[in-house]
C-alpha cells in the first residue's frame, strides 16, 4: 500500500468511534410549536439571552427614571421684568 492509499484509508476510517451529534435541547418544544401553529419555528435567540436582554432594558429604564428624579430644577432665577428693570434702569433714575 503506497502513501496515497494509506492516507485515503486513514481518512475513510476516521469515522470509527464517532459519536452521534446531539440534537438541539429544545427540539421537542419546537416540534410541538410547529404542530400547533403549522409553521416552522426558528428560535432567533436562546431563552437565556432573551431574559438577559429584558433585564438589561429594565435596568436601563430604572436608571433613567432614577436620574430624572435626582436632577434638580435649575437654581438660576428666571428673569422677570422687575429684575431687568432694576438692572438696566437703576443707574438712569437720577437723570
Amino acid at each position: 500500500m503506497n502513501n496515497q492509499e494509506k492516507f485515503a484509508e486513514e481518512v475513510i476510517n476516521s469515522t470509527a468511534g464517532m459519536q452521534r451529534a446531539t440534537a438541539p435541547a429544545d427540539l421537542y418544544e419546537r416540534v410541538m410549536e410547529h404542530m400547533q401553529t403549522g409553521r416552522k419555528t426558528v428560535p432567533l435567540l436562546p431563552k437565556v439571552a432573551i431574559w438577559q436582554a429584558a433585564a438589561a432594558i429594565l435596568l436601563l429604564a430604572a436608571l433613567n427614571v432614577y436620574i430624572c428624579l435626582q436632577v434638580k430644577q435649575p437654581t438660576v432665577p428666571t428673569a422677570n421684568n422687575s429684575y431687568i428693570e432694576q438692572e438696566y434702569f437703576s443707574h438712569t433714575e437720577s437723570i
Binding site: Q4, F7, A8, V11, A21, A23, L27, Y28, V31, M35
Partner: protein, 206 residues
Amino acid sequence: MRQDASKIKYELYHLSQDPLVTALQRGEAYAYKELVTQYQDRVYNMALSMLQHEEDAADIAQEVFVQVFQSITAFKGASKLSTWIYRITVTKTLEQMRRKRTKKRTGIVLSLTTHEYLPEQNNKGNFYHPGVALEQKELSAVLFKAIDQLPEKQRIAFILNKIEQLNYEEVRQVMEISLSSVESLLFRAKQNLQKMLESVYKNYES
C-alpha cells in the same frame, strides 16, 4: 358478532405492534415526547451528516417529527419504526438539498442580472462533525468534503452504513432497494472516496 370480531382484530393488531406506536396512534401525549427523546439524535445526526449544516439539520429534524406525528396513523408496522423514521429523514433531507440547489441556481441567475448573489453560498467551508474525536477532526473534515461530492444514492448508503452504523439489511430497508444494490452502492462509494482522497493527498504533496 361482527362488531366483536372487528374489535378483536383491532386489539390483536395493536398487541403485535410496538407499544410506542400504539400509544402514538391513540394520541397519547407522553408518546410524542418519548418518540422525540428516543429518535432525535438519530434524525439530527443523519440530517447533519447529509447537509453538513447545523441549523438546516435542526430544521429538518423538526420537519421529520411533524411528518411522523401527522402520518403515524398510516404506519402499518411493515417495517421497523426506526427504519420508517430514517426513510422520512432521508426524503426530507433530499428535499432540502434540492431546495438549496434551486436557490443556488436562482442566485447565479440573479448575480448575472442584478449582482445580488452572495459568493460565500458557493463555497462550503470545512465541516467538523461534533461527534468526531478531537484527534480525528481534520481527517474527518476531509472525509465529509469528499462525501459531499459523492452521487446522492452512494452518499445516503455510505452515511447510513458508516456513520449511522446501520447494517446492510437496515440500509436496504431504508433505501427500499435490493441487498445487492446496497453492496454495489457501498463498494462504489468507497472506490470514489478513495480516488478523491488520493487526489487530495497528491495536492497536499505538491
